[in-house]
Symmetry: C3
Subunit: 287 residues, 3 copies
Amino acid sequence: MDKKKILIQLDSDAQPSAFDRVVAIDAGADELFSYGHVLLDQIRGLVHGAIFTRKPSNLKSTAIFIGGSDVALGEKMLAEATKSLLPFLKVSVMLDSNGANTTAAAAVRVAGKHLPLKDAKALVLGGTGPVGQRVARLLALEGAGVCVGSRQVARAELVCREIAKRSPSAKLTPVATATADDVAAALAGQSIVVAAGAAGVVLLSKATRLAAKDLKIVIDLNAVPPLGIDGIDVMDKAAAKDGIIAYGAIGVGDLKMKLHRAAIAKLFERNDQILDAEEIYALSASL
Amino acid sequence: MDKKKILIQLDSDAQPSAFDRVVAIDAGADELFSYGHVLLDQIRGLVHGAIFTRKPSNLKSTAIFIGGSDVALGEKMLAEATKSLLPFLKVSVMLDSNGANTTAAAAVRVAGKHLPLKDAKALVLGGTGPVGQRVARLLALEGAGVCVGSRQVARAELVCREIAKRSPSAKLTPVATATADDVAAALAGQSIVVAAGAAGVVLLSKATRLAAKDLKIVIDLNAVPPLGIDGIDVMDKAAAKDGIIAYGAIGVGDLKMKLHRAAIAKLFERNDQILDAEEIYALSASL
Amino acid sequence: MDKKKILIQLDSDAQPSAFDRVVAIDAGADELFSYGHVLLDQIRGLVHGAIFTRKPSNLKSTAIFIGGSDVALGEKMLAEATKSLLPFLKVSVMLDSNGANTTAAAAVRVAGKHLPLKDAKALVLGGTGPVGQRVARLLALEGAGVCVGSRQVARAELVCREIAKRSPSAKLTPVATATADDVAAALAGQSIVVAAGAAGVVLLSKATRLAAKDLKIVIDLNAVPPLGIDGIDVMDKAAAKDGIIAYGAIGVGDLKMKLHRAAIAKLFERNDQILDAEEIYALSASL
């Protein structure tokens, strides 16, 4: 008889995310071990509990999900979990702290439905945040030329260098987006804009957007009004807006949710997968 | 295929109640997400995790149970949870901190099996505590004249005013029960006495009870001896005692447990219910 | 319909053991209520939640597992849990903090597969630690003469006295094992050596071991190299080593895991069992 599919949720927040728990159950996990307030030095013991309890042939039925609102901490948790696996005793691990991986993957996938991403020109506003970085990584992976926007260009440069370490052929340009003029200049020639900034900050005014003649698609990943792109609605889903195609956070959310469930289900196919942004993005091609 | 029935248990105590967990499973919840040490400011995020993960048509399969030993805090948690629901995205919510709602509902229901509650005269000893207040609310709802007893009559007055806000037609009288003479005076004309005081405090002596000529039924909700009503046994269940009908906490407990399970099961019938004392009491009519 | 089998895991560590959780599921528990950071004064309430929620005839489907890395604390938790049961309302309880009971039981059982334990002579190195004490208890129970080794002989004396309280007929001798000469002297005439010391401490050198002419079986329960017995491998399972039979921790681990699962399954057969070292050892006879 097949072993029950056990998902071990390691969440850095005080209470393990109810959102991630519901999705895990709906994605087919039979048992969910939810841990909150997980500290880095607790991960090794928890991972060893996962790998030392079933025969290697059954380890595909045990998997780990890393979540919590702090994405940078989630990345450290993923590194620690990966380090705690043994060459012949592994379980698959997925990172989706704050939904950053599934959100970024869904955003880039919807963009690619409307125009070829290879050699497209894209601007990521809020490009140094956890979701923005991932959007830039995935667009670059598809061969787009990506401008990473930040109010502080030094931060954008840092992010570009980090992404270039992963993919040396990535076409990345750090751009300042501190003022409306900065943003207007950065928009020149761009066909895609993704806004991934903090809640409540309008990053792109309607006037600036209307003046951008090459723009074909805008995606705003902020779910709480005011959105980052003026005139976009959180519910927009391939909506025609002033001659461009627009998506709001909820418009992208449908694919994001499907992707989240599909990634959880995929964890249980093999015991040697690490599902980070790129792997989750690859998975979205089949949805 | 129907979605799994997920119950999200929000408990204010350090460890989420094992009692409530067993009952939830026996009541048919497929998955139980148990949270302990839940703070008010964590509730919004947990409720949003509940409402943002399934299609509206599936939200009847997600529900929230609020528990913990602090009933006043539970009421605040219920208010916070209710406030976090959205007009078109709701899940049903039940409050039963410290078992107060199911206990009070069961106590009033057993009283009503023996005599009509409409226009009955009832005294609630320990009437300002969380269970006592609910017993008074439910008796008043049925049309009984209710004397709310407290050692400090000012506290009883406050409770009467609070109940009157909910049901302006309620017939409520605050009474002092600081001394044996107070209690004897308060008992005059009462056909029902419910004792809902703190553990270990005898609220009604046998002599005073025997002198109360109109008394037909006494219910003591304290499970730990000495009980609040002298001469009643915790196991009494419609027991004949000196010409009156007596119930102890365990005697009421059977209906309380059935009601707890039935209320959990009811949560999963629709996604727009708030099950507080009155709704749980209404449910007890069919058991 | 049969009630779901609920296992209540009370773990003294900050996060309840993932190891114990996977084993519980694989052993057939339908529902697992995992509590971490369990304090002694929380146990009564949790046990009452277990015993007050189902009819006595259904209580065999609720059970308690006590775990965590601190075995001495686990023993206190077991005592507290046992004290919280009522004469007519019980659930079965198992103690396996740090895997000490299942490890010790498996070690003694594998020794007994190779030679009769009655009147055998055995030395337990690290005999005052939680696993070592249990190995000594179980060997003594089988009628072996047991030398309890410790660097401080006073501690070994204390352990011998404690075991003698449980089984007055036990043949126990405290021995000093502070130096290589001590160990060589303690080994004289022993046919069994079990090493149950702290990780990273070599308790028995190869030269001393080879000089011990009566030695027939060595078992090392340390899973992290360097092992307690020089020349033994963690994977050894009835391996022939210099004319003796050798077991490493993983070599014993297979039986230990089977035993852990069997003990969990046994909890649900009746509601009045306390599974500590002796009961778990008895169970291993049938595996």
